[in-house]
């Protein structure tokens, strides 16, 4: 028997997930068994997957062919460094989510637990297969399996019309995207008909067809990732799903789309043309700006996070665009910098966004409320969740010393050293792009302060929030694990960059590991310390030291006496919870400054109103610019075509007759 290699372990893991799912179907109503036995088992498998990828990183690719699939195209599987980075992400992040999920699912919420169990683990297994697939058919099967299982999870609580609509929109766009991906694969085979990835690599595409493949892939994977303008499903579907699923979709599934884009752009197409990078960058910037703007004005906590995911995907697209740009001009070191930023941001975002989504899950369980306008002050009732969410918030806002900052830092570094591109236009555009990124990063902070401040801080906006309870032990464990990931990613960038460098090297031929390793684990200096460096540990240590020292000194030399009293009311009598900023109020400046970006329906109270109220509804322009017109055109065409079926038999006979006549007169060999 040959020794068990990593890819075998991963395959066994996928099968184990499937088996766990099926086991859930055996006793679909036994919640205790499913949540306390099967989900923990699943999380162990996740952990094994993560560890396997961790040990694999840097090794030679491993491939295998399964005896299933099409007769001409059996399932080819391959584990290389690119895939391994994402497998790592999948394993470790899903470990936390699964642990959390073990404590999350309750009785009487949505579907039967067994159903959830099989959908959930099918989702995991298909994501793993997406990463391992090495031919178009296996990839598409896994890809659509992923879409399908996540769709079913999204519509778990399908009694609500809105959730059904969200699921529909999601699956539809996913399917259209999948078609686009399939076309892209088709183009990449270059007419040779070899649909293995190896076959695609072997093809030399002309610039035209190469570009076609790239654009199709961008649309296809963009639809899954949530790039503008195919993002509309994301803010609907992510909030609709149960929170662990939202976490998995935002944290992991979106990254598989990034994986696919990287796979196509840097591995399969073979050539790179500089304007691809510009296109990816432009779309990424628009997406990031769009996502962050909309996330600031949301009043639903999960929608806010979903839009924030769109923003992060935009940043990733910018990074990919930058890497493409440098790669096309053979500036490999810089390309490696951008690529590392992309990988790092994938990992970072997976960690902190899952953490935040899980936090909303706990809040949801504790309060049964998603609307920010009805939350508040939960830090008093659920300190664990609040403080862990704060970590996620800081990371998500891209602030040191946590994970989000490292990737943004790397990305900005890549931007900063871009001059020297052979196009003067590009040299002009790149800094402007950097400016937009800076704006996006800063606004992400705004959105995150809103998220945390309104949910956890302040006074409770509703009286029943007083009964909220903190997360249970399983949930807490999952949250802590993800928080630990976020912190580790924040403070150990050099070590981790060394780990994922194999993937960068695989795609670009060069990596940063050598340079990074020179300065030890504590210091991150991807090019040289003179140019830029960052020591998160020292950073963290300084702040912590100052914090403790200051506290000690103040108490030592003065005292630590505290008294409680009412808040100062500024002379106003009424200072109840209703006087706090609402979610809408908090984002009012954004709505005002960026007014043209939103489609708003507002109702202002007037003096004469008996019961004055204010309301604002923010909608997406793309609905009205793109989707509704397309739907209308399709409907119009349908309206024309159905006239054929007018019900009159004579007319039907006439069709038949005319067809015959036409063929007799016209058809000639």
């Amino acid at each position: 028997m040959p020794p068990l290699i990593s890819i075998d372990v991963l395959l066994i893991a996928a099968c184990a997930w499937l088996a766990i799912g099926l086991a859930g179907m055996l006793a679909p109503r036994r919640l205790e068994f499913i949540s306390k036995t099967l989900f923990p088992f699943g999380s162990v498998v996740s952990f094994i997957v993560g560890v396997t990828a961790l040990f694999f990183l840097g090794d030679e690719p491993q491939a295998t062919v399964l005896a299933i699939g099409l007769p001409t195209l059996p399932f080819h599987l391959r584990l290389d460094n690119l895939a391994a980075v994402f497998v790592l992400l999948l394993g470790f992040v899903s470990f936390g989510i699964s642990v959390y999920a073990a404590g999350y699912f309750r009785k009487g919420e949505g579907a039967a637990p067994g159903l959830l169990c099989i959908e959930y683990h099918l989702f995991l297994a298909s994501m793993l297969m997406v990463l391992l697939a090495d031919d178009a058919y296996a990839f598409m099967v896994a890809w659509e399996g992923m879409a399908l299982s996540s769709f079913l999870l999204v519509t778990t609580d399908h009694r609500h019309e809105a959730i059904r609509r969200a699921g529909y929109l999601y699956l539809l766009i996913a399917h259209v995207g999948a078609i686009s991906i399939l076309l892209s694969f088709g183009v990449m085979t270059g007419g040779a008909g070899d649909y293995t990835f190896a076959g695609m690599r072997a093809q030399e595409l002309s610039p035209f067809w190469g570009s076609a493949a790239f654009l199709l892939a961008l649309v296809g994977f963009g639809a899954k990732a949530g790039l503008v303008p195919v993002h509309v499903w994301l803010p609907e579907a992510h909030p609709a799903a149960p929170s662990p699923v939202s976490a998995m979709m935002s944290g992991i599934m979106l990254k598989t789309a990034i994986y696919g884009l990287l796979r196509v752009c840097f591995d399969l197409v073979g050539t790179t043309i500089w304007w691809w990078g510009v296109v990816a960058m432009a779309i990424g910037l628009v997406t990031a700006l769009f996502g962050v703007l909309y996330s600031t004005v949301q009043s639903d906590m999960k929608r806010l996070l979903a839009y924030s995911s769109i923003e992060n995907i935009g940043l990733l697209a910018v990074g990919i665009g930058l890497a493409l740009l440098f790669h096309s001009f053979h500036m490999e070191i810089l390309a490696a910098l951008a690529m590392t930023a992309v990988f790092y941001h994938c990992l970072a975002h997976a960690g902190f966004k899952s953490l935040l989504f899980l936090c909303t899950g706990s809040v949801l369980h504790a309060t049964h409320e998603r609307s920010l306008g009805r939350l508040g002050g939960l830090i008093h009732r659920m300190p664990w969740v609040a403080w862990l969410a704060l970590l996620g918030v800081i990371a998500s806002a891209g602030l040191p010393p946590l994970s989000g900052f490292v990737s943004e830092w790397l990305l900005l570094q890549a931007f900063l050293f871009s001059p020297g591109l052979p196009h003067s236009w590009l040299n002009m555009i790149v800094p402007v792009a950097a400016a937009v990124i800076a704006l996006v990063a800063a606004m992400a902070g705004f959105a995150m302060v809103k998220f945390h401040g309104i949910i956890f801080l302040g006074q409770m906006r509703e009286p029943n929030l007083i009964h909220a309870h903190d997360a249970g032990p399983w949930e807490r464990a999952g949250l802590v694990w993800l928080a630990v990931l976020t912190v580790l990613l924040g403070v150990l960038p050099s070590t981790l960059i060394g780990l994922i460098d194999g993937a960068t090297q695989q795609l670009l031929g060069t990596g940063l590991a050598g340079r990074v390793a020179e300065h030890g684990w504590a210091m991150l200096a991807p090019i040289s310390p003179d140019r830029a460096s960052y020591m998160p540990m020292l950073f963290l240590a300084t702040i912590a030291t100052v914090l403790l020292l200051a506290r000690w000194m103040v108490r030592r030399f003065y005292h630590g006496r505290t008294r409680r009293s009412d808040a100062w009311d500024c002379g106003y009598f009424f200072q109840g919870p209703r006087a706090q900023d609402t979610a809408e109020g908090f984002s009012q400046p954004i709505r005002r400054i960026f007014e043209p970006m939103f489609r708003m329906e507002r109702h202002f109270p007037s003096i004469r109103d008996e019961q004055p109220y204010y309301s604002v509804k923010v909608e997406d322009h793309f609905w009205y610019w793109l989707y509704l017109p397309v739907a209308r055109v399709a409907d119009w065409v349908s309206g024309l075509i159905v006239r054929i079926q007018g019900g009159r038999i004579a007319i039907y006979l006439l069709y038949s007759f005319l067809t015959l006549l036409l063929l007799l007169l016209v058809a000639r060999p």
Binding site: P71, V141, L183, G186, T189, Y195, I641, L660
Partner: protein
């Protein structure tokens, strides 16, 4: 000759049981007889298949019947779907009876006609004579006309009338085509009775006069194409599917369309040999694309669930016709695979739809809601079936669509956008309508007779398996059939 006996048995069982059911179909155990007869037919077909796989093609009853690797596959499929449909129709028809929609006499008529219909289709599939093929097709029309009008409601009569007239006219054109084919063949083969035997025709197909064969193929295509449901000859199809009893819709979609397409394929092989070039293929591709596109846009305006799935059948027939039109080993393979998948999936969907409509007491989609809440199994059956028919992996429909698409991309790139547009539109429309039916809240009550769910999941399981793994012997079998189609 044991094989011969099997073959005769396979044809005789439905014929005899059909006749028997006409007489004694009112007995209590008659539904069981129906199931048993169908089961025996399937068993015989399976034995026959095993025989053909081991011993190769053979004749039966002189040269009048010929079983080769292509039609034996259709025979098995037909017998299988016939069997599952009869299982399904047991409780379904009982429920219909209790709802007062069908009298005992009609149930008798249903059972006997169902068996006769199976008989005609098996004859059409196995006959070696292009004339008998025509006769069997016409007979299949006649039996199904009676099945479609089973409810005797104004709507079902209207549907049956349209079905009869349109398919009658269509099939008359096919007869003209057959006459022309005979005319062409007679000049080569002489005035023997063999001039319509397909095995003989195939051997001399290169010598058939091209100008006659052009006309002949046009007539055959328009004629049998009417039965396949090619646009713009499809108008009977949605009516007949929507107004007949659901088991009939299942066999119409799952089997009759296939058999009609099989007739077209047989004609195409001859036309290709005689005319050369891509004449027949191009015609079929044109029809296929037109059908696909039209059906996709029809889907959006449907209110009746069975009608919608009927249009979905039209759409898939368009896709299959397109695949066979492209020709070549891969496309033919994909076409055959897709026929199989479509038969299995669509009949499974109709089974689920049948129970769903019975539960809700309506075929209007707007009034069917929350199936998973009344009966999760049926709800999930419909959901999974729909996803499968829409080409979602890992179901087998995706496998064949994948092959068709990739082949089209390679040889006919211009057609890919049209294919994808149609598939995308179909997805949006069908899924958008099925989802609220399956999910959501409901107030429907349980039915007096528990639904037969085995057929639904049996079909879907096979489709799922074929999406992930096609057994090697099945592959060989498909490949051989695909090669025969040229």
């Amino acid at each position: 000759m044991a094989e011969l006996d099997i073959f005769v048995a396979m044809l005789a069982i439905p014929l005899v049981s059909g006749a028997l059911l006409t007489v004694i179909g009112e007995r209590k155990w008659a539904p069981n007889l129906n199931v048993i007869a169908s089961g025996c037919t399937f068993f015989a077909a399976a034995l026959l298949t095993a025989d053909i796989i081991t011993n190769g093609p053979r004749f039966a009853m002189g040269e009048q019947f010929f079983i080769d690797s292509m039609n034996v596959f259709f025979v098995t499929l037909t017998a299988f779907v016939g069997m599952t449909t009869s299982i399904f129709s047991g409780p379904y028809m009982k429920n219909e009876h209790e709802h007062g929609r069908l009298t005992v006499a009609r149930l008798r008529l249903y059972k006997s006609m169902f068996q006769l219909f199976m008989f005609t289709m098996l004859v059409a599939l196995t006959t070696n004579n292009m004339g008998i093929l025509w006769v069997a097709m016409e007979a299949a029309t006649l039996t199904t006309v009676l099945l479609v009008s089973l409810y005797r409601t104004p709507a079902s009569l209207e549907a049956a009338w349209k079905y009869f007239i349109l398919c009658g006219v269509g099939i008359a054109q096919a007869l003209f085509g057959t006459i022309l084919l005979y005319f062409a063949a007679e000049r080569v083969l002489g005035e023997t009775g063999n001039a319509l035997l397909w095995t003989h025709l195939v051997e001399v197909r290169g010598e058939l006069d091209p100008s006659i064969m052009v006309l002949s193929f046009i007539f055959l295509l328009v004629g049998y194409g009417t039965k396949v449901g090619l646009a713009p000859l499809h108008n009977w199809l949605p009516d007949a599917h929507a107004e007949g009893p659901t088991p009939v819709s299942a066999v119409l979609s799952g089997l009759l369309l296939n058999v009609a397409l099989y007739a077209v394929l047989r004609s195409k092989v001859l036309a290709d040999g005689a005319i050369g070039g891509d004449f027949a293929g191009n015609l079929m591709m044109g029809f296929g694309l037109l059908t696909l596109l039209m059906a996709a846009f029809f889907l959006g305006r449907q209110k009746d669930i069975k009608r919608m799935f009927a249009y979905s059948s039209i759409e898939h027939m368009g896709l299959i016709t397109f695949a066979f039109g492209m020709g070549g080993a891969v496309a033919n393979f994909a076409g055959l695979l897709h026929m199989t998948m479509h038969s299995l999936t669509k009949s499974a969907i109709f089974f689920a739809v049948g129970h769903a409509t019975q539960k809700s007491g309506t075929q209007l989609m707007a009034d069917i809601r929350g199936l998973v809440r009344i009966n999760p199994v049926i709800g999930w059956g419909l959901m999974l079936g729909t996803l499968a028919i829409l080409g979602m992996p890992p179901f087998g429909v995706f496998a064949s669509e994948f092959m068709i698409l990739t082949h089209a991309m390679k040889y006919h790139p211009w057609a890919t956008p049209i294919l994808l547009l149609a598939l995308g539109v179909a997805f949006a429309q069908i899924f958008g309508k099925v989802q609220p039916m399956v999910f959501g809240e409901t107030h429907a009550k349980r039915l007096p007779h528990a639904p037969a769910i085995t057929p639904v999941f049996l079909h879907l399981a096979i489709v799922l398996m074929l999406g992930l793994w096609i057994p090697p012997y099945l592959t060989r079998w498909f490949q051989e059939a695909a090669r025969m189609l040229g």
